[in-house]
């Protein structure tokens, strides 16, 4: 009774309820929510649901990954490229615990995801039964919401809430744990979508007077700078952001998860902020007079030392999640609300401006970075291949239309720095958690969500081997994802730190690697290895032209470093170019 008072549901003409099993209800709920693809792995406590998935296979496609972690990353990739909720399913015990890395990743990167786990029969709860684990307890700190269902009659309402919570406001992962007896039990099925929960206010109402204060500050600014984050993409505010930037003529930088919201080639797009971001926006963070943060959370990888971060500037923070206001950086003006409506309200209040002298500063610093870093990365004169020139070749041949799914490490920083994007939702990477092994399964999910798009997975030799078994999923599903491994036979980013901060003591970072091409061929994938510059363009062309999945290993220089770099704890303006 209490539950029905505390949530609002979408009113549909009342249908007479059908008597069905809990497991059928789970599948029917997913179908009602528009789920066409889900990722998972069967096992004892979830078998009744898999039996229903078999019966409903014409309406909903279950993708068998090779590990439950792969299922969560695939669901994340699906969500990140489409904006829809990704769905992952697993059995109890180890099946459920294997989801945790992906759930934690989705939590810190605000990815909408619903995970459904089977659980032992309710009378066995707490008895240390076979494959029993307290997944609700384990997942609590890394979920937006979680819930255990022990009665079939609760299933429709709980799943409706799960989808609503995962997608609304600042999105995040939700886990629903369903006991096996609840899957077998029957219920009167009648699905109503959830449209509101009384204790939950996902989108704060915009206070127009605050927006006016923000607009005044921006209009008076001589050296304004925007840093936007993923909030712009999640809030589908790309057009609104572009309009604001263009009208007020503000140089605009992005966080790693904000990449691709505005095309790379846009003249006001000044690059990435943060540890391996671009030189100009990092240095000028400490010179701007007004810093406008939009849908970003001042992560420590963005700010460096907080005590010396943008102290000269007035800070305006556009943000949907009130807990982010003043969390890391004290703001002068906080505009609560979703990015789309906030920027829409802001736009008419802004004066037309161009800030030409201020722009010139960014250009000058870009030239410094170009001479010291970019030229060497993209047009190397030394013998070994660089990661940067691989990205350049991919840009050229995909014309910036590809979605780039990167893993974690040096190649990720290079990919995010150099990939060119014409479309939004095209940079899929593990930002907050830094989950090695994310890339390959996430690319599978992305390609399945948007089969019409070119999806290129770029991994290093380390992270690739953390989820390499998902090549089996690619083969079985015939997912035409393109898999690039930039192989330097090292855990490159850790090695770079060992070189710079641990006197080159390369503890456990050198990798003796297998024959990656043979492994890919073992999964019956087209595969090729390149180690010479003159072969690179041809290999990338062959990969891009392929209608089937394709594996490309590029053997790159072993001990290259990623620059620029803000050493941890240093100030953004102390960014090193070499």
């Amino acid at each position: 009774m209490k539950e029905t008072q505390s949530i609002k549901t979408h009113s549909k003409p009342q249908q007479s309820p059908e008597r069905i099993s809990g497991s059928e209800a789970i599948v029917r709920c997913l179908i009602e929510e528009g789920v066409k693809i889900l990722y998972g792995y069967p096992g004892g406590a979830i078998m009744p649901v898999y039996d229903e998935l078999y019966k409903y296979q014409n309406k909903i496609h279950h993708v068998l990954t090779r590990h439950e972690q792969g299922a969560t990353h695939a669901a994340q990739g699906f969500a990140r490229i489409s904006g829809e909720v990704g769905v992952a399913m697993a059995t109890s015990g180890p099946g459920a615990t294997n989801l945790i890395t992906g759930i934690a990743d989705a939590q810190i990167d605000s990815t909408p995801m619903v995970c459904i786990t089977g659980q032992v029969t309710s009378h066995l709860l707490g008895s240390d039964a076979f494959q029993e684990t307290d997944i609700v307890g384990i997942s609590t700190p890394v979920t937006k919401w979680n819930h255990q269902v022990t009665k079939a009659s609760e299933i429709p309402e709980v799943i409706a809430k799960a989808f609503y919570i995962a997608k609304s406001g600042r999105p995040g992962p939700v886990l629903i744990d369903i006991t096996k007896d609840a899957q077998f039990e029957e219920l009167d099925f009648n699905y109503k979508k959830c449209t509101g929960i009384r204790s939950y206010n996902p989108v704060p109402k915009i206070d127009e007077t605050v927006v006016k204060v923000a607009a005044d500050l921006i209009n008076k600014a001589k050296k304004p700078m925007i840093v936007w984050g993923q909030g712009v993409i999640l809030g589908e505010a790309e057009e609104e952001l572009k309009a604001v930037i263009e009208k007020a003529g503000i140089p605009s930088a992005w966080t790693i998860l904000g990449a691709s919201a505005i095309p790379t080639s846009h003249p006001l797009n000044i690059g990435m902020v943060g540890m391996h971001g671009n030189y100009a926006p990092n240095v000028l963070t400490n010179e701007c007079d007004v810093l406008i943060a939009i849908g970003m959370r001042f992560d420590d990888r963005v700010t460096g030392n907080l005590n010396t971060y943008a102290k000269q500037a007035k800070i305006i923070h556009f943000e949907i999640d009130s807990a982010e206001i003043d969390k890391n950086v004290k703001t002068d003006v906080a505009v609560l609300g979703d990015a789309k409506s906030s920027l829409k309200t802001l736009l008419p209040l802004l004066n037309v401006n161009s800030h030409e002298a201020w722009h010139q500063k960014f250009k000058e610093l870009y030239n410094v970075e170009y001479e010291k870093v970019i030229k060497k990365d993209l047009y190397p004169t030394k013998k070994g291949l660089t990661m940067g020139e691989v990205l350049k070749e991919i840009n050229t041949q995909t014309k910036g239309e590809a979605a780039i799914v990167s893993d974690v490490g040096q190649h990720q920083m290079i990919a995010c720095r150099y990939a060119e994007f014409n479309q939004t939702k095209s940079n899929i990477t593990s930002g907050g958690l830094g989950t090695m092994g994310f890339g390959l399964p996430a690319a599978i999910g992305a390609k399945m969500a948007k089969p019409e798009r070119e999806v290129i997975s770029i991994s290093g030799d380390g992270g690739y081997q953390m989820t390499i078994q998902e090549l089996g999923t690619i083969f079985q599903q015939k997912t035409a994802v393109k898999v690039v491994v930039l192989n330097n036979d090292f855990l490159g980013m850790v090695r770079q730190w060992q070189q710079l901060f641990f006197d080159k003591r390369y503890a456990s970072t050198e990798m003796t690697n297998p024959d990656f091409v043979a492994i890919a061929k073992g999964y019956y994938l087209n595969a090729r290895r390149v180690s010479k510059r003159e072969e690179l363009a041809d290999a990338v062309a062959e990969m891009v032209a392929s209608k089937e999945p394709y594996f490309l290993e590029v053997c790159v220089e072993k001990e290259d470093n990623v620059f620029p770099m803000i050493p941890s704890g240093a100030t953004v303006s102390d960014i090193r170019l070499e």
Binding site: R198, S199, Y200
Partner: protein, 176 residues
């Protein structure tokens, strides 16, 4: 920084769901903050639970934690207050050997002066209950421990605020 640390009373209005205690305590645990006292009960609104807890932290930390608490889907509203903004009480029980009640006249004086209440007496022991501020209970504890305490237990702090908390209005607004 150390000197800015003070006790805050946190009142959290929530839905009454399994697992919420875990979710709330995890927010403190993750930040390495000890919960000094904790009480959960129903509130003045039907179906709404109220958590009352005390933590010793800085006000800056406190504000951020309120934000994190309110982020939780099933938290309706969270507030923090300093001691002088609330009326608060804690309750304690002392189990003491019955013979002391008759042999040690001092004990009877202590009971009278402390405004504590005898809940039950039998041949073996009697139970004393005292509600009040922590200092009063600490004082009573010190006085009685001279004679020997068989068992002692103290509740978490409970408090009402001097100012209004507009939970009902918030919940009514949801219905429309």
């Amino acid at each position: 920084m150390k000197k800015d640390i003070k006790p805050f009373l946190v009142s959290i209005y929530t839905e009454n769901n399994i697992g919420l205690l875990n979710r709330i305590s995890a927010i403190f645990q993750r930040r390495h903050i000890n919960i000094e006292s904790l009480n959960t009960s129903k509130s003045e609104i039907e179906g709404v639970s109220r958590f009352t807890l005390v933590v010793n932290i800085t006000e800056d930390q406190m504000k951020k934690i309120i934000g994190q608490l309110e982020r939780q889907v099933e938290v309706i509203k969270a507030y923090y207050h300093t001691d002088d903004e609330t009326i608060y009480q804690i309750s304690a029980m002392f189990k003491i050997k019955s013979n002391l009640l008759f042999e040690e006249r001092q004990i009877q004086n202590i009971i009278k002066e402390s405004n504590s209440r005898i809940v039950t007496v039998n041949k073996v022991f009697f139970v004393l209950e005292k509600s009040g501020r922590k200092e009063e209970i600490d004082l009573l504890y010190r006085e009685l421990s001279a004679f020997g305490i068989m068992q002692f237990v103290r509740s978490g702090r409970i408090a009402v605020t001097k100012n209004e908390m507009k939970i009902s209005t918030m919940l009514e607004a949801f219905q429309h």
